[in-house]
Amino acid sequence: MERALRVFAWAAGALAPAVLLTLLAFLLWRGVPGWSLALFFGDTPPLDAVLRGAPVFDGLWPACLGTVALVLLATAIAVPLGIASGVYLAEFASPRQRAALSFCVDLLAGIPSILMGLFGFALILLLRKTVAPAANTGLLLSAGCLALLVLPYLISTTRLALESVPQELRLAGACLGLSHGQVVGRILLPAALHGIFGGVILAVGRAAEDTAVILLTGVVANAGAPSSLFGKYEALPFHIYYLAAEYQTPAQLAQAFAAALVLLCITGGLFAVARLLRAHLETRWKTGRSQ
């Protein structure tokens, strides 16, 4: 019995890396052959597109820019809000407030992303009928809806990370004359950075891959590079979905796989940036110097 349990636990543990490796291998196998400068830039000279912003008509470049802009914007909205709510829940809320707010956060986490998109769409309709007749779907609306989608992850991980900081650190801070706010800001939050950045990475990944929200809030197939907060934009997940659903030639399907690999690389790059940022912040906190 015990042996069977151990074998099962081992197999379950091995499942996650196995699935990940299979997925990666499959994507590399199907995606890498499609990689070329033309995949990104079409007929436009790459340097012109990157440096001078020349329009790219048949390549992934605008979608890459769109996805990066979308993710950065969504995390810029969600991270401060999420961390602040997590801090409030863990440190300042009364037990009754904590119970009520946690319930709301759990509910928010359970909302399907298509509903979040629908909410954004309905919001624009409402704005058009009332105060802003010219309102339209666009980058900022998508980022706002994505921020709502990832907010619960950030709140929960921040709260959990703060609550698992040892009680001795609170006491150490308090008995040195730090106020509660200073204990939170100078000791607990930095000590909880590891957990909080776990939430940030989860949020970045979720914002980068979501298609349902952006589908209803401003993404289009051919918008070019994002030019304003309120304009339409392109994004990789939508591009992949669009190509995979409506491809007519094997080359287009190959392009979809190549785009999927690009999305994975961009997400990986953002994770790396988040890790570097965390390492930098931790070093600065621990030694008082910024490397």
């Binding site: 001795e168 650190l169 150490a172 008995c175 004359g177 000791i187 621990k286 030694t287 008082g288």
Partner: protein
């Protein structure tokens, strides 16, 4: 020997009618106590008799725990004035800085050795970097740690030995220039040699600070104490005559009888 109340020439901490309860459970009940300047003053008693709670009532650290209700008065002589710890106008952060505390197990922050001392200085006193460094060095010298760590100030504090960590915690409190030091079983988690070092430090520090020490070690009290109080179950407190705690056998006999 009336319960707990003594008239001393130079009193540093006066506790009047103090009651502390956590979530309705009374830990300290109507306690009166006067602690003299310098010391060390030892608080002895069985586990659960409320020694730590009494110590934490002095710097109001009990308030960091949920459901704590404190009644009565705690006055501290700080900077030549009497400060009522629980008065509405008293800034608790200032009080805790002036009455520094060292815990049973060294609770260094997960930072570098230097930053453990300088972070509170920067945060609480907003001192410029060079003054923080000067105070840090002085505090580390005061606890005889400077020569051991001056080459690895940037190393994690957790990499120090237990005794070094405890002395670092002491230095961290000293750097804030307190007038009173509250020590909660400061040697309980240390080996014999490290404990000895802390004891020697206490002897040095008693000329500059008022020391209040919670301890389980009768021999420590016997060797170091200038004043000894024994907390009994039910929250009563007894003061021991010097003749008693200077005599090992008498101390043992009295402790057997009291606790």
């Amino acid at each position: 020997m009336e319960n707990g109340t003594f008239s001393m020439n130079s009193c540093a901490i006066r506790i009047e009618d103090l009651s502390v309860a956590f979530g309705g459970r009374t830990v300290i009940d109507h306690l009166n106590l006067e602690i003299g300047q310098g010391g060390p003053t030892f608080l002895l008693g069985r586990s659960g008799s409320g020694k730590t709670t009494l110590l934490r009532a002095i710097n109001r650290l009990n308030e960091c725990f949920p459901g704590c209700v404190t009644r009565g008065q705690v006055s501290l002589q700080l900077g030549g004035d009497w400060v009522d710890a629980y008065a509405p106008g008293t800034v608790v952060e200032t009080l805790r800085r002036q009455a520094g505390m060292v815990f049973q197990s060294p609770n260094v922050l997960p930072l570098s050795v230097a930053r453990n001392v300088t972070l509170p200085l920067r945060t609480v006193l907003d001192l410029p970097a060079d003054e923080c460094d000067a105070r840090m060095e002085q505090a580390l010298r005061d606890v005889h740690l400077w020569n051991e760590v001056d080459s690895r100030l940037a190393a994690p504090a957790a990499s120090l030995s237990g005794g070094q960590q405890q002395r670092l915690c002491l230095a961290r409190a000293l750097a804030l220039h307190p007038e009173i030091l509250l020590l909660d079983e400061p040697t309980a988690s240390l080996d014999f040699k490290a404990a000895r070092q802390i004891e020697e430090l206490l002897v040095e520090l008693k000329t500059r600070y008022t020391l209040v020490v919670v301890s389980h070690s009768l021999s420590q009290a016997h060797r170091l104490a200038e004043q000894v109080f024994v907390l009994r179950d039910g929250g009563r407190i007894e003061c021991l005559e010097e003749a008693v705690f200077r005599d090992k056998d008498a101390l043992l006999a009295v402790m057997d009888e009291l606790v």
